[in-house]
Symmetry: D2
Subunit: 218 residues, 4 copies
Amino acid sequence: MKFGMVGVNGKMGKEIVDYFTSMGDELVLRVDTDLEDISGTPDVIIDFSNRSALEKTVELCTKFSCPLVIGTTALTEDDFTLLRKLSESVPVVQSYNFSEGINILKAILGKFGQYFDNWDCAIVETHHNKKKDAPSGTAIMLKNALGKELPISSLRIGGVFGEHTVVFANDGEVVEITHKALSRRAFSIGARKAALFSLTKKNGFYSFSDVISESLRG
Amino acid sequence: MKFGMVGVNGKMGKEIVDYFTSMGDELVLRVDTDLEDISGTPDVIIDFSNRSALEKTVELCTKFSCPLVIGTTALTEDDFTLLRKLSESVPVVQSYNFSEGINILKAILGKFGQYFDNWDCAIVETHHNKKKDAPSGTAIMLKNALGKELPISSLRIGGVFGEHTVVFANDGEVVEITHKALSRRAFSIGARKAALFSLTKKNGFYSFSDVISESLRG
Amino acid sequence: MKFGMVGVNGKMGKEIVDYFTSMGDELVLRVDTDLEDISGTPDVIIDFSNRSALEKTVELCTKFSCPLVIGTTALTEDDFTLLRKLSESVPVVQSYNFSEGINILKAILGKFGQYFDNWDCAIVETHHNKKKDAPSGTAIMLKNALGKELPISSLRIGGVFGEHTVVFANDGEVVEITHKALSRRAFSIGARKAALFSLTKKNGFYSFSDVISESLRG
Amino acid sequence: MKFGMVGVNGKMGKEIVDYFTSMGDELVLRVDTDLEDISGTPDVIIDFSNRSALEKTVELCTKFSCPLVIGTTALTEDDFTLLRKLSESVPVVQSYNFSEGINILKAILGKFGQYFDNWDCAIVETHHNKKKDAPSGTAIMLKNALGKELPISSLRIGGVFGEHTVVFANDGEVVEITHKALSRRAFSIGARKAALFSLTKKNGFYSFSDVISESLRG
């Protein structure tokens, strides 16, 4: 597919371009601060930059009448209003976390968490020592998927990209479910899956969970 | 509850008596080779011995008109016929593995395995060095729950009671689901859950999966 | 060897008798509260009870002029004075932790900890939910072996017997050193090693580290 | 420091330039196929390319009379002869693996492996599915450091950069020592340590073990 990348010089932008092109896709639109380079008509536009770029992104999707996959974080209510309006004419896939694994984990905990009702439960998460917040947003999301309070241990060491383990234990056995992100590749794979998904839709506002569910029925 | 134990001198028999009585249950019927000691009317009979005891077990369940929880392995077709006949008058819960965790794992893999269709997958299982067979029956069961071929690595070291890990990985992330049995307690907890389940039934032939599913609806 | 067991009815006493006899040793002296049963002359006496039994234990070692292996915890200065006096006539092996693995770990950290000076470091320890104190005494001992402050995460879940992981990480790599006690067997193996060691000595006060070091030179 | 990079366009070359410059070093000499760009006098030259570049590398070190840190693999006897000759006039640090962690692991196993003589032992190593050989060269190196035969399980899944676990187990306990390389950063950190080491030497042929040992005494 031909794709456009907003935030093309950011770390995640570079990674997405790297992965998409390695899969045979063609980069035809590059946008970043002080940069707008259009060399073809995109089938889809990807935006992993920040909300200051949103207006430009929406303008481009409208111009090319193409879907948007957006992983920008910290969106406001106004931003969502803008995106929902865009989704009336083209497909928009929005998520704060495009990792397939984390989304599957969330689904497993939501479905099977109740089986562990009489077990003890804890979460251990490990991230690099540059990460300021603890516990991680993902750990909180997993706790919420389980729907109960539980202790979360946070380790901040070295360059660990991101690991989350949910441990269940009773007197006789232990079940551990672990997710490890190896690199940003975890998110570019999910972003491409979302892009391919968006190509099959006319319009609408979608989450990454919709993408994963669809991939099963497809 | 008042319970009877067939195979009361075996390792698993001792463990079950230990656990059940620690939970307030009363042992009123003890059976083993050359032993039959009845001091009360059992609400349920547990049999974790071997198939040579089966006839006696069925006779006792019939006599007391009480449910049977049976974890005896290597049952023959004839044995199953006998058990099914018994189940017409009392509840019978039969399983080769009363570990809750392993049964939940099996259910997770059956339900979510397809989400990992494009991921690589492998199983690593570790058991004590006395275990002769490899891969373990449980590893094969987990593989079957996934419904596809995959490499299984078997470690036989020291006194490790039993660990199974299913690993999924793609280019960007890894998901690991691990079960560790800490001791025979893993199975006695499940056996007691099955016993409590059987007390709520009139008759019928049940698996341990039925017990787990019921515990959710209950 | 012929051995005596003080605290023969305690959990650790039972385990030690179980393991020693499985290795061909003969139990010839049994002591516990209100129990003293001597059926032979012990080559060594093992005491894993509590300090109230110490006087009796010392009396018996003196009577039979045999070594003592003592794993009793919470000894006072007076108790140590008593033991050191005994060690003038017979060998005494004293330790608060007879796990070989933990003692090897301690030695590894003492020797190689400095190699990780520029790495981040943390300890994660997991024990059963009956354990009251956190962090565990062993975790503190491992921290002291490293000789620096570091965060310790403590999980108290289910029936986990005891696990300790020391994690080192820099920007590019992670080294984890983990010890798992599977059961009390961890300590009875060490106690027997100490007993065999004591048989080769005339007298003296020894630690479990001495036993491990000796086993290498022998 | 000012450094030169041979193989500057290779994956490892880019990573080393990225890391060294992030630490304040200045790249003053860039060499690759059809590329030779010298903008200053290097304090040290790093070569992580392939043996076809070796002659040029040696020529440059001689010209600038500066140390060489070389991580090129598959060197021949002739190549080593060339390097040893160079090391008569400048320091040369040569290794096939510049990971600090792996080298520390090797040292731990060499020193403490004998403590585990009566334990079972196995190695599990996991790498990405592009890796052709199994077991990994590093796994074999760790086995050799232990000096005995043992089973090695090799997993080839997804994009896992490289993990090695040595497991020891007896009837009562388990000790696991694990190394995980998170990315190429594992090797650039080691290469820079070697570069700084080389600046303190007049001449001589050194291994990465020499670098690590020195860093302790320093």
